[in-house]
Amino acid sequence: MHSIRIALTTGIAAALLVTAIGVAGAASAQDAAKADEGAIKYRQSLMESVGGDMASISNIMKYGLPLTGNLVVHAESLAAHAKLVSTAFERKVTAGQTDAEPAIWAKADEFKEKTKAFETETAKLVEVAKTSDPAALGVQMKATGKACGGCHDNFRKPKEESFKRKGGGGE
């Protein structure tokens, strides 16, 4: 009788333990999935910030707006955001609703080189924006755009393969 009780208790305890481990495992898998999702979302919002400042500079220039004083602010914002790009891609997430190419992690050195080039060009953009020379700014905006493209060329899915064109599913 006593031994049966011990066996039962042990059995229940063991079952509880297994369940607990299972739940913990499921929870950690869930956490990882959520972290992956967050990494993708953050990358995209960071790129939108970059695009926003690029568009703002372009809008001031192409419409000749009397807001040239704002150019430096946008350029500084770009330079600051540029430094965040490499951190945003530290976590390797290739599946899901993302246009990030696996080459980012497979060719990490090349990717780093490209993000560095973006940092360099945006830092130059700040200096040029301070001089309020529209021709020089135009030239440096082109150089900055080239730095964007230099990375997008190999590390962002082309538009025809974008997750946005694949019925919303990324995988």
Partner: protein, 310 residues
């Protein structure tokens, strides 16, 4: 005395000859300079530059992936053996506007002669003058890798016979000169429709959906809808946005452009005078909007909808 006079005449003759030579060289330069602008309006003829393969500019050999196979562009530098160095003016004009090589065979319509057929004499000849002012590059043309029957030369002739009619651009007197300039550039020289208009099964442009975008652009790229449809086209772009984009490659949302478009802006459209960019924008804004859902990005709402359904 007599000798002095004859020496004087000789000197004068030489001076006149020199002047004439200089004037004709300048006229030649002028045509070449104008031709450079025409070539830039044609997107820099970038398809003839095999950038990835390390071929020289305009020396051909670039692979153009199409639904009919892979076609390789030709050498259009003035090399007499492998390029177009021996072509006469009339041969060049016929190739550009009628799609026929000097030996009479028809080009596959991957070469956009159905657009160039709209070009004026002066522009075509100026383009030739510019090409002939460049350094010749020796590079043999590469045979196409198309699938039969598209690989057969006769197919190109048959296609041309069925779908092509030479037609010079005719300005519409009811429209402004700016619009007509834009129409001439878009329809003929800049040959926008070749990539941005969907094609019918045999590869002819579907003119009922003019510039409505295509999934089968060259090199397998997607060519966006250029009509002013607000959802699937560029209906939300201002004329200033369009002109700026063609000049810089920067999209209104601050993104950059990639692929062939980036190249044709860099070597071509980006050098157009502002008035031409504005003319193109005015023309594009005047087009009837065409919805093309096949190319549309899915709205964010859609994505969330899909997510919650999973």
């Amino acid at each position: 005395m007599k000798r002095a006079r004859s020496a004087g005449i000789a000197a004068l003759t030489a001076a006149i000859a020199a002047l004439l030579a200089a004037a004709s060289a300048r006229a030649g330069d002028g045509a070449a300079q104008r031709g450079r602008a025409v070539l830039e309006a044609a997107g820099g003829c970038t398809c003839h530059s095999d950038v990835k393969g390390g071929g020289g500019p305009l020396a051909g050999g670039r692979a153009m992936k199409t639904p009919f196979g892979v076609f390789y562009s030709t050498n259009i530098t003035p090399d007499p053996e492998t390029g177009i160095g021996r072509w006469s003016d009339s041969e060049f004009v016929r190739a550009m506007r009628e799609g026929l090589a000097p030996d009479g065979h028809a080009y596959f319509p991957v070469f956009p002669y159905p657009s160039f057929t709209g070009m004026g004499d002066e522009d075509v000849l100026a383009m030739k003058a510019y090409l002939f002012s460049l350094a010749p590059v020796r590079r043999e043309n590469r045979p196409h890798d198309a699938w039969p029957p598209f690989s057969w030369r006769i197919a190109a002739s048959a296609w041309r016979w069925m779908f092509f009619e030479p037609r010079r651009f005719a300005p519409d007197p009811a429209r402004t000169p700016e619009w007509n300039r834009g129409a001439y550039l878009v329809e003929a020289v800049a040959h926008c429709g070749e990539c941005h208009t969907p094609r019918t099964l045999p590869g002819a442009l579907d003119r009922s959906r003019w510039l409505a975008g295509s999934k089968d652009g060259p090199e397998g790229e997607l060519a966006p809808n250029l009509t002013p449809d607000a959802d699937t086209g560029i209906g939300l772009w201002t004329k200033t946005d369009i002109a700026w984009f063609l000049k810089t490659g920067q999209l209104p949302d601050g993104d950059d452009t990639e692929g062939l478009m980036k190249e044709v802006i860099e070597h071509g459209y980006g050098h157009l005078p502002e008035s031409d960019l504005q003319a193109i924008a005015a023309y594009l804004h005047s087009l009837p909007p065409v919805r093309n859902d096949a190319l549309a990005e899915h709205e964010h709402g859609h994505e969330h909808g899909d997510e919650s359904a999973e």
